[in-house]
Symmetry: C2
């Protein structure tokens, strides 16, 4: 498990790094970003995972997410993976919402995606082991968040691994991919037409099927153009209420789907996770 | 004086806008960004001008500058102009440090630049009038900052207009363009070989020639690759000491020339200006 340093820049007293490695899960080179705040030698810090949305790489949140000041203040490591395998040899699609940049955090089972589009295994297993081996993190104190498709990733990975993640939040997440156009398109292509295979990748379905966490935090802009058709947070509200999960769903007036929205509430999310991580 | 709205996004409780207008100074369309924090109806807010460095447009600081949280907290408007006229009909040069993206905040007198490269008039006169007409600012409470070539712009415009700007700061500024390669190349091409014409565009020369302000704040990374050859803050230290200007020059260990550096100290600069603006 070796990694190559693409860049390191001092920022907010810590180091913002970008790294590359050969992934077993995807069979490709994968790039990811890690911010490590200033810390005492030998310290092991809690870690917040951030999963990005459609079309994004690690770079969008790294440049526009405004998380470093809050992570530095709370002593939290911030990890941002890519959203799919990439490269000329990797299958792709012309649409922005499918193929490269749109891995949906699933392990695909359908051709031609099944070989490389294994973002569940990558984000859930391979990258955590790599990060734990190379960065000063405490694997016992992890939290997860994400935006849009990455909010879907955060909710589903968090719900499937409640013992690993002490806290789960999301910005404008796709809460029920099995019931919205973005998700139906991607899950059918990656997983096939049998919708029972989709349920482990659908936050609302996971909760209906018994997944439990004590609480979740979701921010959603009410001027988000994807709100009514693709995001539908009211479905998560119903699922959480029926399951007894304390969902804090904040409808933020006037905010859209962009990083202007995300960055406005990023410090809030970091602080919320930090409290639950004992940071 | 009409302006066109390119985009507006709610952010940190305010509005991050990007606007376009036909400039009399440059004879081209010019794009600029303005962040207006939440404020009471009819209020007039203090304004902080930010001038960008080589190769940048308004977009770099707007996306990566991390100023909105601090401007929202202090109630300060933030204006980010472009760094030169742009377009297919505008003269250009292949070098990154000259031509489009490298206006150096001068009014050029040499062919072919004299027609459009009038960034002094644009930033000092035309854009302030436009901003005052269209945004809720208090022209009596203005401050200025900038990065690298834009730090040069902030220092020189501030020193030439001490009655207008209550405070001046800079990130890794070119403090003496008449004595470093970037500046010698640009000023000779824009202004001709007579170096006396350069002095109003050189912060150290302006101070030597009698310009006075009470104080200035400069942050400079000591791992900045341009420090020794292009930036040379020690020349500003000498000029300020001899003139009795209270220069706070902070050498920041390990920081480079990037927006990772700028964003790390942006909140500090906004707070410093806000105090002097009575914000």
């Amino acid at each position: 498990m070796t990694i190559e340093t693409v860049s390191q820049n001092k920022a907010h007293g810590g180091v913002q790094g970008v790294y590359r490695h050969r992934s077993t899960a995807t069979g490709t080179d994968m790039t990811f970003a890690v911010f490590v705040p200033a810390h005492e030698k030998g310290a092991r810090l809690p870690v917040l995972w951030y999963l990005s949305g459609l079309t994004c790489t690690h770079a969008n949140v790294t440049e526009k997410g405004e998380y470093r000041a809050a992570c530095a203040a709370h002593g939290v490591v911030f990890v941002a993976p890519d959203t799919s395998p990439r490269g000329e040899d990797v299958p792709d699609d012309e649409a922005y919402d499918f193929g490269q940049g749109a891995g949906f955090y699933v392990d695909a089972t359908q051709s031609p995606w099944a070989t490389g589009f294994r973002m569940k295994s990558y984000v859930e297993d391979e990258l955590p082991a790599l990060v734990a081996a190379h960065f000063p993190i405490d694997p016992g104190r992890q939290a997860i968040t994400g935006h849009s498709m990455g909010g879907h990733g955060a909710l589903t990975i968090g719900l499937r691994n409640p013992a690993r993640f002490r806290s789960i939040s999301a910005f404008a997440p796709i809460v029920a991919p099995g019931r919205v156009p973005w998700g139906e398109k991607a899950l059918a292509a990656y997983l096939g037409d049998d919708r029972t295979a989709w349920r482990p990748y659908d936050a609302c379905a996971l909760i209906e099927d018994g997944a439990r966490v004590p609480e979740m935090l979701v921010d959603q802009g009410d001027a988000d153009p994807f709100l009514a058709e693709q995001l539908r947070p009211e479905l998560l509200r119903v699922a959480c209420d029926e399951a007894g999960i304390a969902l804090t769903l904040r409808m933020q007036p006037g905010y859209d789907h962009s990083y202007y929205f995300i960055s406005s509430f990023m410090a809030d999310h970091v602080a919320w996770h930090a409290e639950r991580l004992g940071a």
